[in-house]
C-alpha cells in the first residue's frame, strides 16, 4: 500500500516536472495604459500569445506613468524586475543614465538575432529615443503630439466659420474672445501646459528648451525657456485669462473634461485625446488643426515634438528569455498592429509601414484631421531645437514649471519672473542630476 502510494506520488511528480519543462516562458510587460487603451494593449499581447507557443507575455496595468515607473524601479531594486516596462518620454534621460538597469533595444535585437531596422520608424520618434550616434534605446510604442481642437458649435454661435480654425495665436485670441462674447464659458484651455505651452512651443518656434541641443549633447546643460517669445506668450495668456479667453483647468489632462463638456471653444491637447474627444462631442462637432504660432517669432512653424511612451527592456533576467522579448517587440511594432493602434487611439503611427497602411485604407478620408499630428511632426527637418528633449530629473522640472505657471494664472507672479524662477529652480535640479550620474 505504502509503496503504491509512493509510486503514484513519484508519477505525479514526474508529470509535473515534465509539464514545467514544456511550459511557456512568461514575460512580464508592465504598462500604464488604462481603460480603452489598456484593452487595445491586451489585444496586441493576445495576438502575440496566440501566434506562437514558446513565450507568454503577461501584460500588467500598473497605474499612471509615474506609478508604473516607480513600481518597476522598486522591482528592479528587489531583483524582481519585469522584462519590459512602458516609460513616458519625460523619463528618457533618467532611464538612459540608469547604468546596468537598461538593456538597449538595438543591442537586444542584435543579441537575439532578431531582424530589426530602426529606419522603419518615423524620425521624430526614433530621434527622441536614440543615442547621439543614432542607436535606438527603447522600442517606440505610443507617441503623440499636441494638436488644436475646436468646438464647431461654439464657433458657429459666435458667427465664425466652423470649418476653419486659426493658424496663428493672434487669430486664436480673436476667435476665442468672440466665442466667449457669444456665451462660451471658456475660450481656450490647454492640456499638459508645460508640454504644450513651453516645450512644444519652443520646438514649433525653433527656440531652445535647454543648451546642448536640448540635452542631447550631455548632462552639463542649462535651461533656456525663459526667452522673450515664451515670456510674451505666457503674459498674453495671463492677459486673456481676465475675460476667460484663456482658462486654466488644472494640470496634466484635466482640462479635457471641460472641453469635452462643451465649455471651451479651443483646446490644445495630445493627438491621442482625439478618440475620447470625438466620443464626447461627436465627430461632427470637432474641428482639428495644427497648433497656432506667433508670426512675429517665426515666419513658418518648425515642427512639433512627441510625447507618449516607449517600451524599455530591463536587465536581470536569464539571457534566453530576452529572445522572446525581442520577438514580442518586433510583433508590437509591426505595421498592421501599429496601424490599428494609431487608428483606434489617435497616437501617431510610429512606423512608416503603419502610416502607409492607414493611408491606403482610406481612414483619413473618413476621419479628417487624424493625419495632422504626423504632418505636424514632419513639417520640416528637425533642428537641434526641435528634435526632442533629453532633460534629467524632467518629472521634477515639469512640476516646477507647472507650479510657476500656476503662480502666473493666479496673478501671484508676472510671466517673466515666473519663467526666470522656473529656469533657476530647474537648473538646480539639473545640477543634482549631473551629480547623481557622474
Amino acid at each position: 500500500m505504502k509503496r503504491r502510494l509512493l509510486a503514484s506520488v513519484a508519477t505525479v511528480a514526474t508529470l509535473v516536472g515534465m509539464g514545467s519543462a514544456q511550459a511557456q516562458v512568461e514575460l512580464q510587460f508592465w504598462h500604464a495604459m488604462g481603460g480603452n487603451l489598456g484593452e487595445a494593449v491586451n489585444a496586441q499581447v493576445e495576438g502575440f500569445n496566440k501566434a506562437q507557443s514558446a513565450y507568454k507575455v503577461v501584460p500588467v496595468y500598473k497605474g499612471s506613468y509615474t506609478e508604473t515607473l516607480t513600481a518597476a524601479i522598486a522591482a528592479f531594486r528587489a531583483r524582481q524586475a519585469p522584462h519590459m516596462v512602458q516609460v513616458f518620454e519625460v523619463g528618457t534621460a533618467n532611464m538612459m543614465a540608469a547604468k546596468g538597469a537598461v538593456y538597449p533595444v538595438h543591442q537586444l535585437m542584435a543579441d537575439a538575432k532578431e531582424p530589426f531596422d530602426p529606419n522603419a520608424f518615423v524620425s521624430p520618434v526614433t530621434g527622441y529615443y536614440s543615442t547621439a550616434d543614432g542607436k535606438l534605446l527603447s522600442m517606440p510604442f505610443n507617441s503623440s503630439t499636441p494638436v488644436l481642437y475646436w468646438n464647431k458649435e461654439l464657433l458657429q454661435k459666435a458667427g465664425l466659420d466652423p470649418a476653419k480654425g486659426p493658424t496663428t495665436w493672434p487669430e486664436l485670441g480673436e476667435m476665442a474672445k468672440k466665442a466667449v462674447a457669444a456665451g462660451a464659458k471658456c475660450g481656450f484651455t490647454p492640456q499638459w501646459q508645460t508640454w504644450t505651452m513651453i516645450e512644444n512651443f519652443g520646438a514649433y518656434h525653433n527656440l531652445p528648451f535647454a543648451t546642448k541641443s536640448n540635452g542631447f549633447g550631455g548632462t552639463d546643460i542649462e535651461l533656456r525657456f525663459n526667452d522673450a517669445a515664451r515670456v510674451k506668450h505666457i503674459a498674453t495668456l495671463a492677459e486673456w485669462s481676465k475675460d476667460r479667453t484663456f482658462v486654466y483647468n488644472g494640470r496634466e489632462g484635466r482640462s479635457t473634461a471641460q472641453f469635452n463638456a462643451g465649455d471651451c471653444a479651443f483646446h490644445i491637447a495630445s493627438s491621442a485625446s482625439a478618440s475620447a474627444i470625438e466620443r464626447a462631442l461627436t465627430k461632427e462637432k470637432v474641428g482639428m488643426g495644427m497648433m497656432p504660432f506667433w508670426p512675429d517669432v517665426i515666419a513658418k512653424p518648425q515642427n512639433s515634438i512627441i510625447g507618449g511612451a516607449t517600451v524599455w527592456v530591463l536587465q536581470g533576467r536569464p539571457q534566453a528569455e530576452y529572445v522572446g522579448v525581442a520577438k514580442f517587440l518586433s510583433h508590437i511594432s509591426s505595421g498592421p498592429i501599429q496601424a490599428k493602434w494609431h487608428q483606434e487611439t489617435g497616437y501617431v503611427p510610429v512606423s512608416k509601414a503603419a502610416a502607409e497602411i492607414t493611408e491606403k485604407s482610406g481612414f483619413y478620408k473618413d476621419n479628417p484631421g487624424r493625419d495632422l499630428a504626423v504632418k505636424q511632426l514632419l513639417l520640416n527637418p528637425p533642428t537641434e531645437n526641435s528634435r526632442g528633449l533629453r532633460i534629467g530629473n524632467f518629472v521634477q522640472i515639469r512640476d516646477v514649471v507647472d507650479s510657476e505657471l500656476e503662480a502666473v494664472w493666479s496673478g501671484k507672479k508676472d510671466a517673466k519672473t515666473a519663467l526666470d524662477d522656473a529656469v533657476k529652480a530647474g537648473n538646480e535640479l539639473l545640477r543634482r542630476f549631473e551629480a547623481a550620474n557622474r
Binding site: 509615474t66 531594486r77 486654466y248 484635466r254 463638456a261 521634477q396 493666479s410 547623481a436
Partner: protein, 293 residues
C-alpha cells in the same frame, strides 16, 4: 499601595514583550534606519550609481527656499487642522451628550465619516467643490463667490483643511463624548445648585476634567495633520496650485516617488521624523503639566 507582579523566571518578561519589540524593530526601527542611510546617499533611481555624500542632501534642502515655504505651510496647516478639528468635535460631543432622544442615531451619523478613507474623502470634497461641475462651487457662484481651488491657492488650502478635518472629526468626537460621559454628574449638579450657569459649569468643571482627553487628541491630531493627511492632499490638489498645499509629507512623496530623488526625499523624512519626535517630547514635558488627571 501599588500592586506589583513578580516574575520568578528572568526570561519570562522578555519573552512576553518580545513580539511587540520584534514588530517595533521590523516595522519601525528598520525602515527608519534605512531612511537615515538613504539620506546620506546620492544615487540614481535604479541604484546603479550610488555615492556617499555625507550631509549634502541636508545642506541642499536647508538652502532651498521652497522647503522653508513647505515647512511654514505645514505649521499653518497642522494648526488649522488640529484647532478646527478639536473645536468642532468638542462642540458636537457636548451637544450629543445633552441629547436624550435618538442619541444613538446622531452618534452613528457623526462617527460615519471615519469609515471613509482619506483618499476617498479627498475625491468626494473635490467633486463637491469642482469649479465646473461641483454643486457647492455652483451654489457659491450663484451668490457671487467664485470658488476655484484649481487656481486659487488659499481656497485650495481651505478645501484640504475641510476635507482633512471632516475625516478626523468622528475620531475626536468619540473620545470627547467618552470623556464627557466619564465626568461625574454629581459635580455638575452640585455646581448647578450653587448657581453656576451652563457656561460657567462647562469652563470650570467640564473643560478641566476633559483636559486629559483633549491633550491626547491634540497629540494625535497634530500627528494626523503631519502624516495622515497625505491621501487628502494627493487626491484633491497634488500639492498645487503653485505649491499652495504642498505640505512636508506630500513633498517627501513627490520628490521621492515622482521625482525619483531618493536621497533628498529620505533627508526630508529624517527631518520630519526629528520634528515629530521633538514635538511629542515638548507636548509631553510642557503641556502635559497643565493637564489635570
Amino acid at each position: 499601595m501599588e500592586k506589583r507582579v513578580a516574575f520568578n523566571e528572568r526570561w519570562l518578561p522578555y519573552l512576553l514583550v518580545s513580539p511587540q519589540i520584534l514588530i517595533t524593530l521590523v516595522f519601525f526601527f528598520w525602515p527608519s534606519g534605512q531612511a537615515i542611510w538613504q539620506s546620506v546617499l546620492l544615487e540614481d533611481a535604479f541604484g546603479g550609481n550610488s555615492r556617499f555624500v555625507f550631509l549634502d542632501n541636508f545642506t541642499h534642502l536647508l538652502s532651498d527656499k521652497d522647503y522653508y515655504a513647505s515647512a511654514r505651510l505645514t505649521l499653518v496647516f497642522s494648526a488649522l487642522v488640529a484647532s478646527v478639528g478639536l473645536g468642532v468635535s468638542l462642540l458636537l460631543a457636548v451637544m450629543a451628550d445633552r441629547i436624550i432622544r435618538g442619541a444613538t442615531a446622531y452618534k452613528a451619523f457623526l462617527v460615519w465619516p471615519y469609515a471613509v478613507a482619506p483618499a476617498v474623502a479627498g475625491v468626494l470634497w473635490g467633486f463637491l467643490f469642482n469649479p465646473s461641475v461641483g454643486i457647492v462651487a455652483w451654489s457659491l457662484a450663484a451668490i457671487g463667490i467664485e470658488f476655484n481651488y484649481v487656481i486659487n491657492g488659499n481656497q485650495a488650502l481651505a478645501l484640504v483643511v475641510i476635507a482633512a478635518v471632516w475625516n478626523q472629526v468622528s475620531y475626536n468626537f468619540l473620545f470627547f463624548l467618552a470623556g464627557l460621559q466619564a465626568i461625574p454628574k454629581s459635580l455638575i449638579e452640585a455646581a448647578a445648585i450653587d448657581g453656576a450657569g451652563p457656561g460657567r459649569r462647562f469652563w470650570d468643571i467640564v473643560f478641566p476634567l476633559l483636559s486629559p482627553t483633549g491633550f491626547f487628541l491634540l497629540v494625535v491630531n497634530i500627528i494626523y495633520a503631519f502624516f495622515g493627511t497625505f491621501g487628502v492632499v494627493d487626491s484633491l490638489t497634488k500639492g498645487g496650485p503653485a505649491k499652495a498645499t504642498e505640505i512636508l509629507v506630500f513633498k517627501v512623496y513627490n520628490d521621492g516617488f515622482r521625482g525619483q530623488d531618493l536621497g533628498g526625499s529620505a533627508a526630508q523624512s529624517v527631518i520630519l521624523m526629528i520634528v515629530v519626535i521633538a514635538l511629542t517630547v515638548v507636548q509631553f514635558r510642557f503641556i502635559e503639566r497643565r493637564v489635570h488627571y
